[in-house]
Structure formats: C-alpha cells, structure tokens
Amino acid sequence: MPARTSWIPYALIAPSVIFLGALFLVPLVQTIWLSFSVGDGFSMENYQRMAGDLNFSLAVRNTFLLTLVVVPLQVVLALAMATMVTKLDKGRDLVLWVLTIPLGISDLAAGLAWLALLQNTGYLNSALYALGLIQGPMGWLSQETPWALFFAIVLAELWRATAIVLVILIAGLQLIPKEFSEAAEIFGAKPWTRFTKITLPLLKPSLQSALILRTVLAFEVFAVVYALGGRNFPVLAGEAYVWQNDNQNYGAAAAYAVLIMAISLAATAVYLRILRTRPEQLP
C-alpha cells in the first residue's frame, strides 16, 4: 500500500471527532465537574441533595419500572411486526411506511396527542360516555390514579418508539441468508423451531443494537411522561429538568444527569456482554 494515503482515514473522521469533542466531550466534562462542585471545591453535596430528595427514590423506581416493562414489550412487538413485514409479498413498503410513522413525530408531540385522547375531556372519555359505560368524565392521568397513569405512559411509549426497534430488526432479518431456513425446513423443522434456532441467534447483533438504543433512550424518558402526567409520575430526566429550571440548582440537576449517564453506560455494558456474538456465529 502506498504510504502517502495513510492520512486520508484520519482526515475523514476528523470532522466528526472535532464535532464530538466540542459539542459532546466538553459539555460532558463540564457536567461531571458541575455535579461534583459546590462553590469552588470538590463536594458530594449535590449527590446528597439528589438522594435525599422526596422524589428521588420514586423517580428511580418509576424509571426502572417503565424501562423493564416497555423495552421487552417493544422488542416482542417489533419482532412480530418485522417477521410479518418480511413475509409480505405485496404492499411491503406501504406497511413498513405506515408502521414507522411514529418515528417522525417528536416525543413531546406524541405525548400531547395521547393527552388529547386520555385527558378528562379527551376522546377516550367521550367514547366511553357515548357508549354509556361512564356517567361523567373519568380522570385517568391524575396523581390519585397512579396505575392508570402508568398504563397510559406505557401505551404512549409503545406507540411512539417501537418503530425504531422494528427498523433495526428488519435490517437484521434481511441479512440472514434464506438457505438456512430452507435447509431446516427440508429436515422437517417447524416454523417456531426455525424462528428460535435460526432466526433469533442470527439476529443477535441487531437485537443488541436495538436493545442498547432503546434502553438508553428509555432511561432518558421525559417528554411523554411530562406531557401526560406532569410531575405526578416522577422520572429521572424529569427530576433533572425540575432541579435545573424550577429549583435553579444546576449542581443537583447535573448530579441527576450524571446518574442517568452512569445507568445507561451500565446497561450498555450488560448488553454488550450478554449478547456477545463470536465471529464464527455470524452468517
């Protein structure tokens, strides 16, 4: 190889490295520093404020609960949808396009759309009332109905963010050679066996990407929760927002931000380890 071209790869990645350095690494270091400083010195005070707050344990519990319920459901749904889409002969593009519409909608807009459905004077209550099932407007999103509120948030999140998993899984499914499945069929493997023994193992790299992406985003969930429940359902990112904007305590807000990052990094590390694919397992 001629040596004179060796700088080209570096030059090509330089813009993104500079971009990440300026707009990601610098703020990251600043945030970490902000979370550990009070006045001019090093201190854990912000973390103590955060952990001692009345909404902290609730926010941790809610965020994990939401992630543990929403992410597995999304993967199952997306797997079913992706398998269905790949089996389609006609209208495949149209179906895929319709299924991915929620991807194009901002999460706050999605939250507001669900709010319009579920609030006291919303479409759900109107429909139930018209059917004679309720006497007057029912509150679904109040602090006195925590499970209905939780269910509403799960529903909105499923609707909004399953498509991103779907897109990744479809790309993964298309990479699996048809021959494996056909060979198994000749040997008499039933569809379910083919799915669990061939498709799923070969889909592992895509599942890994999808899980990492969705889990990290689930730990950052904010706009949908805020639109539907305000502060009735505290989550980590929401608390960071409240400390920053309402309480004007930037240190405690930074502590929350660092905590969310630590949880996301830990989750990513777990996925990378559990769903590791050795090169010989790749199709």
Binding site: L54, N120, T121, Q135, G136, P137, G139, L141, S142, Q143, E144, T145, Y226, G229, G230, R231, N232, V242, Q244, N245, D246, N247, Q248, N249
Partner: protein
C-alpha cells in the same frame, strides 16, 4: 487594478456591514419574560411601544431561558439586551452580577409617583435601585356562575373564609358528584405563591417564622379537607383558565394573567372575587414586574427611554386595557375597560380594600435560592396533602430545610413576618 469589480464589491459589502453595525448600535433590544403569548407580545410591539423614538425590538423568553441567557451573556462579556422586563423574583438572582443600578432613572421618574414600598422592592435588598416597577398583578378567585347556587348559606364571595370555601366545594360534590374546586398545582402552576402569599399569612400571620407553629398545623389540616373536595387533576393544572373554560373546574384560585382568558372570552359566565380569609386575615400577594438595565447594556440611553415610556401614566393605562396588568403609577383606570378586564379590576380592588386584607410581600434577599424556597412549600404540600404523611413530622423536617436556607442566604424577614435582626429564623 486587475480586479476592480471584486474590490468594489468588497467595499460595498464593508459599507453595508458598517451601516448595519451602526443601525444595531441604535437599536434597543427589550428582553422580557412577561407578556410572552403572541397576542400580548404583538400588543407590546404595536401599541405599547408606539411613540418611542428609534427602533425598539421586543424579544420574549421563558423565565428559565432568561436566567441562563443573562448569566451566559455576562460570562461571554457580550450583552445584547439594553433593557429587561421580568418579575421581581426573576430579577433577584441577577443582582450585582448581571444588572446595573438605575438610581439615575429612579431620580428622573420622581414625578410618576410610584409608591415608596414598590420602589423599595425594586432595590432587591440592596441599597441601590435595581429595577423600576413596571406593572403589577395579583391572584384572585374565579367561579363559574353555575357554582353560585351551591354557596353555603350566609356566605358572600367577596368576603369568603377558607371554611366557607371548603363547605362550598363540599356542597358541589354532594349535589353534582364532581370535585370542582381547582388549584394550579401542575409543574408550572403557581401553587408555591398560594402558600407564601395566601395560605400561610391567612392561617398563621407569617410565612417563615410561623412555618411549623400550631396555627400552621391547623392550617394544613384544613387544607387537607379542602383538597378532598378539589379536582384530583389539580396536580396537572398550570393555567386555571383552561379547566375553567372546559367546565372541569367551577371555582379556582390563580394569577390574574392565568385566568384572564376565561374572563375575557366569557365575561357573562364567570365571576372574580378575592381569595378567602383565614383566622389571621385575608392574605394576599401583589406581583410586581420590573424593568432593569443589564450590565454593559449596548444602548443604555435607549433602555432608559423604554423605561420612561413604559412608566408614563398613559402607557400604564394602555397596558391595563390591552394586557390586563395594572398600573404601578398613580393613574385611574378608564371606565371603558373590556368586561373581562373589568371583572379582574373589580376583584383586585376588592382584595386591596378588604378590611381584613393582609399584604404578603414577595421574598427579598433569597438570591438564586428562590426556587429552593418554593420547593420547601411544595414539598411540604406533597408530603402532607398528597402523600398523607403526619403533619407535625413533616413540618419539623421541612422547617430544618427552610431554616438552613434562610441562614445560608442571610435574608431578613419580610412582611407579614415581623422584621428580624439578621436571617429570618423559623420559630
């Protein structure tokens, strides 16, 4: 000259940019957290700022963005706004670092007759004038006329007590099966001000010193009963005009700017009246917005001109008529106000002139801790009313937080608490 055309283009461009920068130097940027909705901002641009010489650009921002921008511009050493308009509490965190004293402007405006207590608030706890009072508002109760038939016997909306309000809400629950009393307890609702300006003064005669008194304990127990007849969606309400207009809430307490739409859209459907009275009087809190000049303002003269213009009696009256904020200067409201604004003006006058009125001032001297001061009250509310924790224990625990906060800032007591030597302490 081998390239005459490009050179000429460069010269023209330079002249253009030079011209622009001169134009920018003459422009006055008026940066505000108030009158943000597009209709109100348009009124400011097209009506209220009319008659000012030179170009004034009115720019609005949410309060948190305002705070960040003021600090960022100070750090960067590059200021864009020459005059800022914000609430008393929003200006407070910027004292000394981001604002410059305006004693000279205050001296110029002597003839406007702004009440001395308002001017004193404008010093923000320092000995120099930090802002000039711009306009004022307060909080009122608004009720749907459908609710009036359920008023307890002998009760008059203009001299309501908290006990009567509770009975009123209970009557509505008993008769209609719906909890139709509402409070703005949502994420951006102004409930903290209810505690600081209404609930605590009315029940305890103080805000900080009486935080965990026996009177406060009794008050919180009353509030629990009040909450039992309040709409459970209250923790989602930020602006009470929305649930009022939707008919979801029949009786509400909120800032006049946040119920104005209900009153101006349907003046025949609603009544406005003062907040209720407790054992110690009818607590109420005036809200003051002020005009200040940021440090290193690019066009101080232009900024001063805006302040002079906005505090003219005729501009102040136009402000009341157009956007429903009331004058800080001596000026009588015209009789031809819109019906909704007239309702508000009536409720404000009834509040100020009530025999048992008990003025609660805005917190002074808390600096950047204003948000955490609010948090003490909302946390107490969450724990006692929403999570049903024992009143005594919560008050003891939160009093420690409040006491530490007051010591930390060294803020002396403000009315209705008795003046203190040094930091205001919880008793």
């Amino acid at each position: 000259m081998t390239h005459p055309v490009p050179l000429r283009a460069i010269a023209a461009t330079a002249a253009l940019f030079g011209g622009l920068s001169v134009a920018q130097a003459q422009e006055t940027i008026f940066y505000s957290t108030q009158l943000r909705p597009i209709e109100e901002a348009t009124k400011v641009r097209e009506v209220l700022l009319k008659g000012l010489p030179g170009k004034t650009t009115y720019v609005v921002d949410e309060p948190p963005a305002f705070a960040v921008r003021m600090k960022a511009e100070t750090q960067a050493g590059k200021r864009t706004a020459s005059v800022v308009g914000a609430l008393h509490g929003e200006l407070q965190p910027h004292v000394s670092a981001d604002l410059q004293p305006v004693d000279d402007v205050a001296a110029k405006l002597k003839d406007r007759v702004i009440p001395a207590n308002l001017m004193e608030l404008g010093k923000l706890g320092t000995n120099q004038q930090q802002y000039i009072p711009w306009m004022q508002a307060t909080y009122v109760m608004v009720a749907n006329k459908q609710a009036l038939q359920y008023l307890p016997a002998g009760a008059d909306v203009n001299s309501l007590t908290y006990a009567q309000l509770q009975q009123w809400g209970k009557n509505i629950v008993d008769k209609t099966g719906q909890r139709r009393l509402g409070f703005p307890a949502g994420p951006t609702g102004l409930l903290p001000r209810f505690f600081q300006g209404y609930f605590y003064p009315s029940f305890t005669g103080g805000v900080v010193t009486t935080f965990k008194s026996a009177d406060a304990e009794a008050g919180w127990n009353t509030l629990k009963e009040l909450w039992a007849v309040s709409n459970p969606n209250s923790t989602n309400y930020n602006f009470m005009q929305e649930p009022l207009l939707a008919g979801e809430v029949w009786i509400a307490w909120d800032h006049i700017a946040r119920v104005k739409e209900a009153l101006t859209l349907q003046p025949d459907q609603f009544v406005a009246f003062p907040a209720p009275a407790g054992p110690k009087g009818r607590g109420y809190m005036p809200v003051i917005a002020g005009l200040a000049i940021p440090k290193d303002a690019p066009n101080r003269t232009g900024g001063v001109a805006v302040i002079e213009h906005m505090t003219k009696p005729e501009t102040q009256l136009a402000t009341a008529a157009e956007v429903g904020f009331f004058p800080v200067v001596k000026a009588d409201l015209p009789p031809n106000l819109a019906p909704g604004i007239k309702l508000l003006a009536g409720a404000v006058a009834a509040t100020q002139n009530a025999r048992d009125a008990l003025v609660s001032l805005l917190p002074v001297g808390l600096g950047a801790k204003g948000g955490e001061f609010n948090k003490v009250y909302t946390d107490t509310f969450q724990r006692i009313v929403l999570r049903n924790e024992p009143v005594r224990d919560v008050l003891e625990a939160q009093a420690k937080v409040l006491d530490a906060l007051m010591k930390d800032t060294g803020a002396p007591c403000w009315a209705p608490d008795k003046p203190s030597q040094g930091a205001c302490a919880v008793q």
